[in-house]
Symmetry: C2
Subunit: 492 residues, 2 copies
């Protein structure tokens, strides 16, 4: 199998697909729109998940697990939510197969095993969770509930892309219940901050925090907060959302609590989620035509040591030195791999680990050992340096930090360079066509205009940035008065 | 809500259900046979999962993720496996809902959104995984593949019990691929050992390792190895299984590899799994009429500190001392909780943490502080001791070890006392009826006799113990010649 990638310039979309598959992150499966997350991709997800999980727990949340299935009658209880997801639901209707009488060895759905009520595979779990919360909440003493769930969800998308949009994906969904509106809004904002911190500090992807327009809100939310990231092709990607759900789900599922004065009120809710889609963002924010570029903090392998053997006696000496170095790096908490596989040559391995985006590669030959040096290559800049072996581990720790910072800075510079201001319709379209990125422009605040712009320019309002400057102006399409600019972009 | 439990003597089954729900481990859900794993239960599962995951990784395995869905044509490819699971499959037939024209606000399954091929929700993932492995394996260089998956699976059971048998459950499933039969068998046995170590060392539940009879094998396996545990009501519980799958799945999915001599052969397979059912085993092996008894090594909370306030000034002093003690315990890696919630009284808290099975409770009043002592109660024996505060943390570490060992020893003594020998049919039935437990008896080795014994005595052959002594005898039912004893029991 050729490991050569299509270049970004040639075909960005093909580059992405090539990269995901050839780097070993994921694979297509026999099920339409569903992917297989391969060990390398899953190790990345584990690192992301573990860090997020820690951040959730540090902010007082606990994990739980709710059923995969939502009975149709619960699914439809919150009407807007139901309407929003009805068109992309996988539906279980039967619970048994039987032998096909006409076709030996084959099975058919047993028509006698039809469910009385169809079960929807969760596209999101508000319905099943709020139906459960009803039994858990009586008084203000039962609040807040701060629960998170790591789970698989299914949304029957028609056009799928590995990681970016798959019929089944892995995610976490926080579902919290509060006694007051203020506390729920505070939680919504807090979790947006957690997401932004994680994506910026760990994934090295800068984001813009904002609020969605009513049109782009989560179905059933009062307000949807989001973080938006910029990809190298100038398209935006929604990296995480945090929803203030008001009392909508509490009302739909009749969840009330008595406050300190024994007054009954509906409970206030939030929900928030990020998914394996983040891996798509990571890939498209950093990688190049040689392959992935992994941020050191979440890279499955941070350092790879590749021996360059010449004859058997060099093997013994190099293996010994490499194992010693491995131990030193591991002692500093570094995820290091020694690839002394005999089946492939050093050059092939160099290319392979570039493709996989391992941040630091150490090459070690006999002459190196004699000189007490190694060759250290960083993946981000592709610089190579000969470095002394003494005290190397500490230098590698520093180098990993430098790489983390470098790729964040690079992505931030790209993002900053891709926020443009447009004051006329022609400018808006020209910027979107030529340069891409976010375009800051006035909008008259109506759903009709938003829809029209989407049709005409293929761009959506990504968000109204938090702490947005108030500025009077004229809508870029209708010329009607506007009180602030919003960010438009073409998006994933 | 009364927290009083039904006693074991009164109604063992009701005691179990009460305990699971009142201790906050899990709850019933709106979906038939599916449970909600509550935060306390999920924290326990996380501790179990993390330890198992470490043991899998230490033995060279990596995690990955495969689709939830299995297309029917793949599901039926390995005939025995398909036949074994066909009767308990949840089946997705449609991918869209639409507004019900006759019922405003309601939804119906859109008949136009019928899938061309039905999708089975995985009851186990051999089919989808081996269909994927075909694309990953060409040569011996691609072997072994040592993959594990943490996932939810669905088996449409008619009679369900929280944790023990639920329609959806969480588990891990290892799926490995090997170049030789010997290597695959070695893997099967290695993972059985990992399971036994985990269940004995971490869950403090002794197990018997053995092999299932052909009748009780996993559908599609050549051999099923198992660990069997003994519950307090004298019923056995299968705690984990490890399957040698031979070349059955490789043949069904056409997975071949070329060996070093370029000869093509089918790949050899294993699979192995444990599930949230283990939590049921944990509960039933250790708990008593006061509640759960958690093995310290996996207890979500290992130590709880309960203040006994008398007036405001005592609160300040006690809080300060308790926080100091918390820090010391945490520094030693102990999971400790300080419950200074004002809403409930110490006596209520004592009962609550007994119910939840927290291994060690430290009660602290003003007089204790003046005496530089605290009251330490261990959950397993319910002994209370006044202990000096100086050097307490180290003593608590030792105490947790002692408790772990004590409950293992107690369970082992119970198990040992519940392995009986029977040499006549009447003895077999009498032991099963009066005492329960495992009964070691001769069996003629035929499936017919096994089936007949199951019908007549309601007992199954739990396993043929590993390294079983060869001993000539006469079948307990038919009197036909037998070469070894096997273990019968009534089972969950």
């Amino acid at each position: 199998m050729s490991k050569e990638l299509t270049s970004r310039a040639e075909d960005y979309s093909q580059w992405y697909n090539d990269l995901v598959i050839k780097s070993g992150l994921a694979d297509h499966s026999a099920v339409r729109g569903c992917m297989v997350i391969k060990p390398y991709g899953f190790a990345l997800w584990e690192n992301m998940r573990d860090q997020l999980d820690k951040m959730f727990k540090d902010t007082g949340h606990v994990n739980a697990y709710f059923p995969l299935f939502v009975p149709k009658s619960l699914f439809e209880a919150e009407e807007k939510n139901a309407e929003g997801f009805a068109k992309e639901c996988a539906i279980v209707t039967h619970y048994r197969l039987k032998a096909d009488p006409d076709n030996k060895g084959k099975l058919i759905v047993d028509p006698e095993a039809k469910l009385e009520e169809e079960l929807i595979i969760r596209p999101t779990s508000e319905a099943i969770i709020w139906n459960t919360y009803r039994g858990w909440i009586q008084s203000y003493r039962d609040l807040p509930i701060l629960i998170n769930q790591w789970a698989n969800v299914v949304r029957w998308e028609m056009r799928t892309r590995l990681f970016l949009r798959t019929a089944e994906f892995l995610w976490q969904e926080g579902h919290t219940a509060h006694a007051t509106k203020e506390e729920a809004i505070e939680e919504t904002e807090k979790m947006l901050d957690v997401y932004a911190d994680f994506v910026e500090q760990w994934m090295a992807v800068p984001v813009i925090k904002g609020i969605k327009t009513p049109n782009e809100r989560f179905a059933g939310a009062e307000d949807t907060y989001c973080i938006e990231a910029m990809m190298q092709d100038g398209k935006a990607l929604q990296a995480g959302t945090s929803h203030f759900l008001g009392q909508n789900f509490a009302k739909a599922f009749d969840v009330k609590f008595s406050d300190k004065n024994n007054k009954l009120d509906h409970v206030w809710a939030t929900s928030w989620g990020v998914s394996t889609r983040l891996i798509g963002a990571l890939i498209m924010a950093h990688s190049d035509d040689q392959g992935l570029i992994m941020p050191p903090k979440i890279a499955p392998v941070q350092v790879v040591i590749v021996p360059v053997y010449k004859g058997e006696e060099s093997k013994v000496a190099i293996d010994a030195k490499a194992n010693e170095m491995m131990c030193q790096l591991k002692a500093l908490g570094i995820r290091v791999k020694y690839d002394n596989n005999d089946n492939s040559r050093p050059g092939w391995k160099f290319a392979e680990y570039e493709l996989k985006g391992v941040p630091v590669r150490i090459a070690m030959g006999l002459r190196d050992i004699e000189n007490n040096t190694v060759e250290v290559a960083r993946r981000d800049t592709r610089e190579k340096n000969v470095m002394g072996i003494d005290g190397l581990s500490e230098k590698i720790v520093q180098l990993l930090d430098d790489i983390q910072q470098y790729i964040y800075n690079k992505a931030l510079a790209f993002q900053t360079a891709h926020i443009s201001v447009a004051d006329s319709w022609d400018d808006l379209v020209k910027i979107l066509d030529d340069k891409g990125g976010f375009v800051s422009a006035h909008w008259d605040g109506t759903a009709e205009t938003e829809e029209k712009i989407k049709e005409m320019a293929k761009a959506t309002i990504r968000c109204i940035p938090l702490n947005n400057k108030k500025e009077e102006g004229a809508c870029i399409l209708t010329g009607k008065p506007s009180v602030q600019r919003v960010l438009f972009a073409r998006a994933y």
